[in-house]
């Protein structure tokens, strides 16, 4: 039994130490966003954020995550209250089948958290570990740029709120 912190909540998880995080998220915690794509760390569909960094959950044993903060796409927002990155992907209609998209969004989110104004080159370089087979790349890039703008606006409004108080 170990404690796993996912999306801000502690979960008691019973999993063998070598179980990759992906299966704990999907099987034990019933989370959908992180996807099995290759199990080899080659496609990025399983990407989640651990302590602010994008991590391939299909090749990360759960035992290494004790005491760390795991964030999945579910932890960012919901259909009713989408996070900026989610809004951006909806507004750009940046999906066809969408199977790769959750992983793409998590890496983009990690990038935007440390670099709020990435260049196009930086976004492309960051997304290099990710495969999309439908050819939605152009929209994915547009959505990440849009998310950066939305987060910028959101930050500005938060600051404004604070100063008003």
């Amino acid at each position: 039994m170990m404690t796993l912190k996912v999306n801000g909540r502690d979960h008691q998880v019973e999993a063998e130490a070598d179980t990759p995080l992906l299966y704990v998220l999907r099987d034990d915690l019933k989370l959908n966003a992180a996807k099995f794509g290759c199990g080899l760390g080659q496609c990025g569909a399983c990407t989640v954020i651990v302590d602010g960094k994008a991590v391939l959950s299909c090749v990360t044993p759960v035992v290494l995550l004790e005491g760390k903060q795991v964030t999945t796409l579910e932890g960012l927002g919901s259909v009713a209250a989408p996070a900026p990155i989610q809004r951006a992907f909806m507004e750009e209609q940046a999906a066809q089948c969408g199977y790769c998209i959750a992983g793409m969004m998590m890496r983009a989110q990690a990038l935007l958290q440390k670099n709020s104004k990435p260049t196009d080159e930086q976004i492309r370089a960051e997304l290099e570990p990710h495969l999309c087979r439908c050819g939605t790349h152009m929209r994915i890039l547009r959505a990440v740029h849009r998310a950066a703008r939305l987060m910028d606006t959101a930050d500005a409004s938060t600051t404004a709120d604070r100063s008003a108080r």
Partner: protein
């Protein structure tokens, strides 16, 4: 309430009949009283004519639309919702679309060939218009008003005095259980409020928030996770396996062995993977060297016995040839390469099998699974649930059969099977390798005088139907034989899809060499033979334009009569800034290509700019500008998304992809051994211009751009390097060798 409803119904049906007569009188039939047979209703209404197979309305006014097609990420679920809401005059949000399910929806065969809009979209449009007409007729009767005085709005029929009867009030049991008529009173496209609008797709919110969006996300109570141990190669025989040891592993529920079919089910997903690995380690297989020589594939293919058909011939001896060129083009086996390996959930309860699957054909797949399990088809239900994009016949049907076979061994328990990456890559039925040989001549005016085109190909569909199409059935002890392949008939064709040129040539001959022997497991991959045939034709058109010293765009227009084709060529050229006599910047090239998919569906022209690194041979698509005419546009953003995707996906096929194998095994088994496009090679821009054709039939779009994109890129590489590459893929190594040659 029931009794008056039943009474109403008879009168409504009578009214409906009268109404239909008035349609016919107003339609084409009125002018042709001697028409030989009554025309059938359009789209899939031909095969499923009852209106309530498509649209049901309950007493509360809730509207449900049914399609036998499967949403694969093309976004048509949203498009169908727009079409139905438009013709019914109800709010977009107020109706629900239910997709392929053998218990609920019409049998529309496969979701393939860019036919969903044409088949199902047309059926839904016409069914919705006829349902609306029935509701108006009933309202007219109840209000004692002529129909012409009534209008529909927001789910209700409204009288001139403002009196409003909702569809829920008007509908009666079985009122919609009537056969569709050949003609519908469709809305004037000028009045469309929803069709033609970029409505946001209904499936995207769940996909970007972690909602349950895929069959992979299904979790049924008591569900077990299963994995299959596939043979290491085609035809391998299982000689030894210690199943008992694996069954003792923690969490393992059952090992299923049936001949060469081997699988394990466990309570948790990762336990099933560990058990699969243990099972694979104990299994011994007898393999045979049966695969062709990869480096000699074109000769292997053209050397196989073939059934040859001349599919097109035209002759005008008055036109004489002056200069002649010939060329051979090849395509390797290529993988669908879905990002999510195939998956299915099956449950066997009281003699009834239910399978949730991302198959493209719930009905044909049901037939195959029923045959495999020796069950009556009526006892097998297949429900489509979205999976990862498939781009044709990937492992979906096989995974469905796997799940069903395992579920039968575990009655009552839902069984979820997902393939491993290596299994998807090694076992999916690939897009067939092809060879084309072209020869053509110019006349004294630089126009094409004669054209000879020959294509060698396997079939492009080994989809189920029978059990023998599915791996589980092929591998079980009482094995089902792989069915004999059949060429797909023209005009759509398979290996010969788009083999007949759309251009007008005075002399032309097209021969299809259909190869029944399939050395590698193959089936339908997006665009089928059109990908390679269009690549060949449109590359060769550029070679001929070069010979004629003509501009490639102008040269195409000189040989094309079809006005809609000409319009997309002109639009793409204009959007790109194509100019006669243009010269691309250093190490860059411009390319152009065009096709009408299947010669009967959507038109697409693509201009591209490619950059070639002369040191490494690396080619990158810098920008592409496409023009598309897909008939009446339903959702322009959905259409653009499809064409953008076609260009980018085709670019990956064209520059990088080929299945590799040795004598025994497929050796491209993951993303390292089968590399595809990554972000470093994504274009700077892809631009899509739509030519809308209000009121014209829906032509579909999913497979329209792949062929033109391939040829456009190849032509741009030729323009950049002065070298013509004719063997797909146009890899860095091949480009470098051509530059250095």
């Amino acid at each position: 309430m029931n009794v008056p409803v039943m009474l109403d119904r008879r009168r409504v049906l009578a009214g409906g009949g009268a109404l239909i007569v008035s349609f016919s009188l107003g339609g084409a039939l009125a002018q042709q009283p001697d028409a030989p047979t009554a025309p059938s209703p359009p789209g899939s209404l031909k095969t499923s004519p009852y209106l309530d197979a498509w649209i049901r309305i309950d007493a509360n006014g809730a509207v449900e639309v049914f399609t036998g097609k499967a949403e694969l990420g093309q976004g048509f679920k949203t498009a169908f919702q727009q079409i139905a809401a438009e013709e019914l005059d109800i709010a977009f949000e107020s109706l629900k679309v239910t997709t392929a399910d053998t218990r609920l929806t019409a049998n529309e065969g496969y979701t393939a060939g860019s036919n969903s809009m044409k088949d199902s979209g047309t059926a839904i449009q016409n069914a919705a218009a006829q349902v609306r007409a029935l509701l108006v007729a009933e309202a007219a009767r109840r209000l004692d008003q002529p129909e012409a005085n009534l209008r529909t709005e927001n789910g209700a029929v409204i009288a001139p005095d403002g009196k409003r009867l909702s569809y829920g009030e008007l509908v009666a049991a079985d009122m919609l259980h009537v056969q569709a008529q050949p003609n519908s009173r469709l809305k004037d496209p000028a009045t469309f409020k929803l069709v033609g609008q970029p409505i946001l797709r209904v499936d995207i919110p769940a996909k970007v928030t972690g909602g349950a969006a895929y069959v992979q996300d299904m979790r049924l109570p008591g569900m077990v996770h299963a994995r299959v141990v596939r043979p290491p190669s085609y035809g391998a025989q299982l000689t030894e396996c210690d199943t008992a040891a694996v069954e003792k592993m923690p969490g393992v529920v059952k090992v299923v062995r049936d001949g060469n079919f081997l699988a394990v089910a466990a309570e948790k997903e990762f336990s099933s993977i560990k058990a699969m690995n243990a099972l694979a380690a104990t299994a011994k297989w007898k393999e045979t060297a049966s695969l062709p020589k990869q480096d000699d594939l074109p000769n292997v293919l053209t050397g196989l016995p073939s059934r040859d058909t001349t599919i097109f011939e035209r002759s005008n001896p008055a036109v004489t040839a002056q200069k002649t060129i010939e060329a051979t083009y090849t395509r390797p086996y290529q993988a669908h390469g879905s990002i999510g390996p195939s998956c299915a959930v099956a449950q066997f309860v009281d003699g009834e099998m239910t399978v949730w699957t991302h198959t493209q054909g719930v009905y044909p797949d049901r037939q195959g699974i029923a045959e495999m399990l020796r069950m009556p088809p009526a006892s097998v239900r297949l429900i489509h649930v979205e999976g990862s994009g498939c781009y044709g016949h990937n492992g979906a049907d096989d995974a469905a059969a796997d799940a069903a076979l395992i579920a039968r061994a575990l009655p009552g328990r839902p069984v979820r099977v997902q393939w491993m990456r290596e299994q998807e890559h090694a076992w999916e039925p690939f897009g067939p390798a092809m060879v084309t040989k072209l020869k053509a001549s110019l006349d004294g005016n630089g126009k094409i005088a004669d054209w000879h085109f020959e294509v060698w190909s396997n079939t492009h569909s080994m989809r189920p139907g029978g059990a023998g199409s599915m791996l589980a059935a092929q591998h079980m002890a009482q094995a089902f034989a792989v069915p004999a392949p059949r060429p797909l008939p023209l005009p759509e064709g398979g290996g010969d899809r788009n083999a007949i040129p759309i251009y007008t040539f005075p002399n032309a001959r097209v021969v299809h060499h259909f190869i029944p022997t399939m050395p590698i497991r193959i089936s339908a991959m997006r665009a089928l033979g059109a990908y390679h045939n269009v690549f060949s034709i449109e590359s060769f058109m550029d070679e001929l334009a070069g010979l004629a010293e003509a501009d490639p765009v102008e040269f195409r227009l000189q040989h094309l009569d079809d006005p809609r084709g000409r319009a997309v060529i002109e639009k793409a050229a204009q959007g790109f800034g194509w100019k006669k006599g243009q010269k691309a910047p250093q190490d860059r090239g411009f390319g152009f290509a065009f096709a009408r998919y299947k010669n009967l569906a959507a038109y697409c022209a693509i201009a591209s700019e490619v950059e070639v690194n002369r040191e490494t041979g690396r080619a990158r698509l810098v920008r592409a500008v496409a023009a598309i005419d897909s008939g009446q546009v339903v959702n322009p953003d959905g259409l653009i998304n499809q064409i953008e995707g076609a260009i980018v996906q085709s670019m990956s096929w064209t520059l990088y992809e080929s299945v590799t194998f040795d004598d025994v095994r497929i050796t491209s088994i993951d993303w390292q051994t089968y590399p595809i496009l990554r972000f470093d090679a994504v274009p700077d821009s892809v631009e899509v211009h739509i030519i809308n054709r209000p009121g014209q039939p829906f032509l579909g779009s999913g497979e329209t751009g792949q062929g033109p994109a391939a040829a456009s890129i190849a032509n741009a590489i030729a323009n950049a390097t002065g070298r013509r590459l004719r063997n797909l893929p146009l890899t860095r190594k091949r480009i470098k060798e051509a530059i250095d040659a």
